[in-house]
């Protein structure tokens, strides 16, 4: 499908031209605007497994009706980058939780359990989304996204992995000696090995949330917050 991504990476918005009769799967509550012939159907896609990957349990299916082409603009809740990836059918593609934005209906997904250690220390969820099939896939995250071609080994800080291709796997380890583990401020890192491509985000929304904590009001127990 013909598409363009504008205003990236800060306030990315994706617009896709949907040919007549074709379908586009879009993450719930991400539609910003569309032509009037686009028909929406909400589906309980994947059921419980989508809940595990921090995605909405519901996915919206947009169909271009009235025998003409439609156009839809999609913007995720978090301001950040959107990337496009074309699946060719003979590879699998892994997305970390809550990165899915949209895909053609020919793309299928599974939920993959990462293992306890990875889920706990990677700064990501316990589950990955395993995408397969043929067609376009769009994913988004907070901050800018860049990709690195990995041959051999590569280190990515926890909480910064967005997606990676089949052929890569990662382990939780640390950089430097034990002094670095405790004092470097990096703590654990994800060490990728194999051959493939990994997408990394430049910023971390959780770090911003953690910083914003100091600006919360303090309320005494039993007394409501007064707004006067």
């Amino acid at each position: 499908m013909e598409h363009k991504i504008e205003a990236n990476p800060d306030y990315s918005i994706l617009s896709v031209k949907v040919p007549s009769g074709e379908k586009l799967m879009v993450e719930a509550s991400s539609m910003a605007s569309m032509t009037s012939n686009m028909k929406m159907k909400t589906k309980l896609a994947g059921g419980f497994s989508r809940f595990l990957t921090k995605e909405s349990v519901f996915i919206n299916e947009f169909t271009a009706g009235e025998s003409r082409d439609g156009e839809i603009s999609i913007a995720p809740g978090l301001n950040g980058d959107i990337q496009h990836h074309e699946l060719t059918g003979n590879e699998k593609f892994y997305l970390t939780a809550s990165c899915f934005l949209a895909s053609e209906s020919s793309v299928t997904y599974n939920t993959k359990f990462q293992g306890l250690a990875k889920g706990f220390f990677s700064g990501e969820s316990f589950f990955l989304m395993e995408m397969s099939g043929v067609g376009s896939l769009w994913f988004n995250y907070y901050g800018g996204i860049f990709s690195v071609d990995v041959v051999g080994e590569y280190v990515v800080d926890t909480g910064h992995i967005v997606a990676f291709t089949e052929g890569l796997d990662y382990d939780i380890s640390h950089i430097g000696g034990y002094k670095s583990l405790f004092f470097s401020g990096e703590g654990f890192v994800c060490r990728f090995s194999g051959q493939g491509k990994v997408w990394i985000q430049t910023k971390n929304s959780m770090a911003l949330v953690g910083w914003a904590d100091q600006f919360r009001r303090i309320e005494k127990k039993g007394k409501g917050v007064s707004f006067d």
């Binding site: 990476p9 800060d10 950040g80 980058d81 901050g143 800018g144 860049f146 690195v148 051999g152 080994e153 590569y154 280190v155 990515v156 800080d157 910064h160 950089i175 430097g176 000696g177 002094k179 670095s180 004092f183 470097s184 401020g185 990096e186 060490r191 990394i200 985000q201 430049t202 910023k203 971390n204 770090a207 911003l208 910083w211 914003a212 100091q214 600006f215 919360r216 009001r217 303090i218 309320e219 005494k220 127990k221 917050v225």
Partner: protein, 227 residues
């Protein structure tokens, strides 16, 4: 050592390409990705040197107690970013001293000396930190900010709102003043105290103020309940 910035100015990250034998020093916790064969060492001061006192002082300047040193055996890359949205710039130092606002230091090469400076009690009122970092030597420094960074060549006098200074050359000095013709006007205009920069040299400012952004979030955040 080569610095390539991407996604400026809001979601900036920098790719640092190290040649064999080069060492890059970064603020603790700022690495986002790297080649796995980079050697990492964590210390309180320069690589291989101790300096607890310097480190303690640096902590007062809003920086991390520990610094990480990345050394390359072969050509390697290191990606560095700050978790907050904002800009990053590279400054080349040719022996002059650069005074840097608390929390704005990200990385430098091994020829830079990191010290903590004192700008007097006026710092408290200026909306900046009590202590400032002073970077000296001949080499490259990477700074970060909240919002975009812009550069001003000061010759004579220049006015900057409090909380917008990122860094300035040591040849400049600053004093506090009121923005309007009277204190009442200054306060009503929401500008309050301003910084007057004097001298000749480079001044780096940030377009947005992190504390102002934080305060604007307050009404939308859930309150903390204390018993």
């Amino acid at each position: 050592m080569q610095f390539d910035f991407i996604h400026k100015p809001c979601n900036t990250a920098v790719k640092i390409t190290l040649q064999a034998g080069e060492t890059c020093t970064t603020e603790a916790g700022s690495m986002i990705a790297m080649d796995s064969h980079l050697n990492v060492d964590t210390s309180t001061h320069k690589r291989g040197k101790r300096g607890i006192l310097k480190s303690l002082k640096r902590m007062f300047a809003g920086e991390s107690f520990f610094l990480n040193h990345y050394t390359a055996n072969t050509e390697s890359e290191l990606w560095v970013s700050n978790p907050h949205p904002g800009d990053m710039i590279k400054v080349d130092l040719l022996g002059e001293k650069l005074i840097v606002q608390a929390g704005s230091f990200v990385a430098c090469d091994e020829n830079i000396d990191i010290n903590t400076g004192w700008q007097g009690f006026k710092s408290l009122l200026s909306g900046e930190s009590f202590f400032w970092l002073s970077l000296s030597g001949q080499g490259q420094v990477v700074l970060n900010s909240f919002g975009a960074i812009y550069e001003i060549d000061v010759d004579g006098e220049y006015i900057v709102d409090t909380g917008h200074i990122v860094a300035f050359e040591e040849s400049l000095s600053f004093s506090l003043s009121k923005a309007g013709s009277s204190w009442i006007q200054s306060w009503l205009g929401g500008e309050g105290i301003i910084c007057k920069i004097k001298g000749k040299g480079k001044l780096y400012c940030q377009s947005h103020n992190l504390m102002e952004f934080g305060k604007s979030l307050t009404p939308h955040l859930l309150p903390k309940v204390r018993g």
